[in-house]
């Protein structure tokens, strides 16, 4: 008979996904975190079979790395696969193959969506609203990010728990590539508004329109210049250090 994960076990696994990077290291990356997250399920599936339980734990201590929020779908599907392995319906090696096969592509999708689109959008909104009131900025940043992040964690895990087919169907339906483009567009609008707001606040008043226009174009050119430097792998710290030196020279004069 196929063992079924209890609601308590399922809740524990879901909560433990938030500690996926708890012991992040250069060798196995998220391996300890993944084994920790799936442990409540393994305890239930292999109750009274300590040797098999041990083998299962070892399986999940192998190298694993993906974008942490996207780890939820792999975790859910791995629970479902372990369920089948414990019932003798699947080969234990299929779990490793499945995890390795999915972690790279989901990592790339997740990095582009969460770090490359959602976070810049939420950060820019927070930074703009913080000019009006500190709490407004913080609330905007946390709400915009987590209103998307937490439901994805929840739905991805639930989809994974429906098995590999459920995971694939959810990935199709979630259309993260389209959502990435939308968030990038929103981030561009907010980033432009942020730059315009700062430049506008520093523009000289007093009737000299040429100065004002020149200031805008200098601001836009600086944004282009910094973006070009980022593309050439110059880090923000290097640019800031250069600016610090420039500041020191100004003071020296």
């Amino acid at each position: 008979m196929t063992p079924v994960l209890s609601p308590k076990g399922r809740r524990n696994v879901w909560l433990r996904q938030f500690l996926l990077q708890g012991c992040w290291n250069y060798e196995g990356m998220q391996n300890v975190g993944f084994a920790y997250a799936i442990l409540p399920a393994l305890r239930e599936f292999y109750a009274g079979r300590p040797e098999e339980a041990l083998k299962a734990v070892k399986r999940h201590l192998e190298f694993f790395n993906t974008q942490p929020a996207m780890g939820a779908v792999i975790l859910g599907a791995s629970v479902r696969l372990e369920e089948r392995v414990a019932a003798g319906e699947a080969d234990p090696r299929s779990i490793g193959t499945f995890k390795v096969g999915l972690m790279g592509s989901l990592g790339a999708i997740g990095d582009a969506f969460f770090w490359g689109a959602l976070r810049p959008m939420a950060s820019a909104a927070g930074a703009i609203l913080a000019m009006l009131h500190p709490w407004l900025g913080i609330i905007a940043l946390l709400t915009l990010y987590n209103a998307t992040h937490l439901p994805i964690r929840f739905r991805a895990f639930a989809a994974g728990m429906e098995g590999q087919e459920g995971a694939v169907a959810w990935l199709k339906q979630a259309a993260l590539n389209v959502r990435t483009e939308d968030r990038k567009l929103a981030a561009a609008v907010l980033g432009g508004a942020y730059a315009g707001a700062y430049a506008g606040r520093h523009a000289p008043l007093g009737g000299d329109a040429v100065h004002t226009v020149v200031l805008f174009f200098v601001g836009a050119a600086l944004v282009r210049l910094f973006t070009g430097l980022f593309r050439k792998a110059v880090s923000p710290s290097e640019i800031l250090s250069f600016l610090f030196l420039l500041g020191a020279l100004i003071l020296w004069d």
Binding site: F18, L19, Q21, G22, C23, W24, N25, Y26, N31, V32, Y36, A53, K58, L61, G107, D111, W115, G116, R119, P120, S123, G126, A127, A130, P134, I138, L141, L142, Y145, K184, L185, A187, A188, G191, G192, A193, Y194, A195, G196, A197, Y198, A199, G200, R201, A203, L205, F216, A220, L222, V223, F226, T227, P236, S237, L240, L243, F244, G247, I250, D253
Partner: protein, 232 residues
């Protein structure tokens, strides 16, 4: 003052956990950290002003694979404490604001080094965990994870104590050595830093569609703000 540092250390432990080890709810973002640290040291608004600029500066460096981006949480701890300290002594004028943002760079790099060290020690923990599991003790997975979490949290608390202490020291001892005229000269760079932050956002969001949108929005908001300032 000791209570303030204790509170900051507690906040630092939580935020550094959120940064890598747990949750990833964005509690570690500079806007959140600098505002709260500023609040702890006496000026929430000063912390938010400096955190708002820091929030965007390092966005272009993504935490992808094994790469560790600069520690903007640490930079925010330093800058938040220093901004609150400066606002209660010499005042947070344009020059002090710019100087604190630029002085936060070494702290971002120091925090990055500490982060790398923690991850190396975690490698040893993971190795010991695997050995214990080989011996038949799979509770070692839970102990290993707890050890990793503790290490991240302790490092966060220690870094926060050190960085907020440095922030207070810089605001009280270093900034006050420069007169208003010197700070006024330094504020020439004040506009450049937010533009560097905006470039980080632009760099992340850059596609064929978004380039025009970014600069058109920048022009529209710039024009609107100049008009409203001019109109009164």
């Amino acid at each position: 003052m000791a209570l303030r540092f204790a509170l900051a250390a507690l906040l630092g432990a939580l935020c550094y956990l959120d940064r890598t080890a747990a949750f990833q709810l964005m509690l570690h973002r500079p806007l959140v950290v600098a505002t709260l640290v500023g609040g702890i040291f006496g000026n929430l608004t000063a912390g938010a002003q400096i955190g708002g600029v820091l929030e965007l500066l390092y966005l272009a460096r993504l935490p992808v694979g094994a790469s560790v981006p600069p520690d903007d949480t640490g930079a925010a701890v330093f800058a938040g404490a220093a901004a609150a300290g400066a606002s209660s002594s010499i005042g947070l004028d344009g020059g002090s604001f710019t100087a604190l943002l630029l002085l936060s760079v070494p702290f971002a790099e120091l925090g990055k080094l500490a982060d790398r060290y923690v991850r190396k020690v975690n490698g040893r923990i993971a190795h010991l965990t695997a050995e214990a599991v080989d011996r038949g003790d799979f509770r070692a997975v839970e102990h290993g994870l707890l050890a990793g979490l503790t290490l991240f949290a302790l490092t966060g608390a220690v870094l926060t104590l050190a960085f907020s202490g440095a922030g207070m020291a810089v605001s009280k001892l270093l900034l006050s050595r420069f007169g208003p005229a010197s700070r006024q000269e330094f504020s020439a760079l004040q506009l450049v830093l937010p533009l560097l932050g905006a470039a980080s956002v632009y760099s992340c969001s850059r596609t064929e569609r978004t380039a025009a949108v970014f600069f058109l929005t920048m022009a529209a908001v710039f024009g609107a703000i100049v008009f409203f300032r001019w109109a009164g």
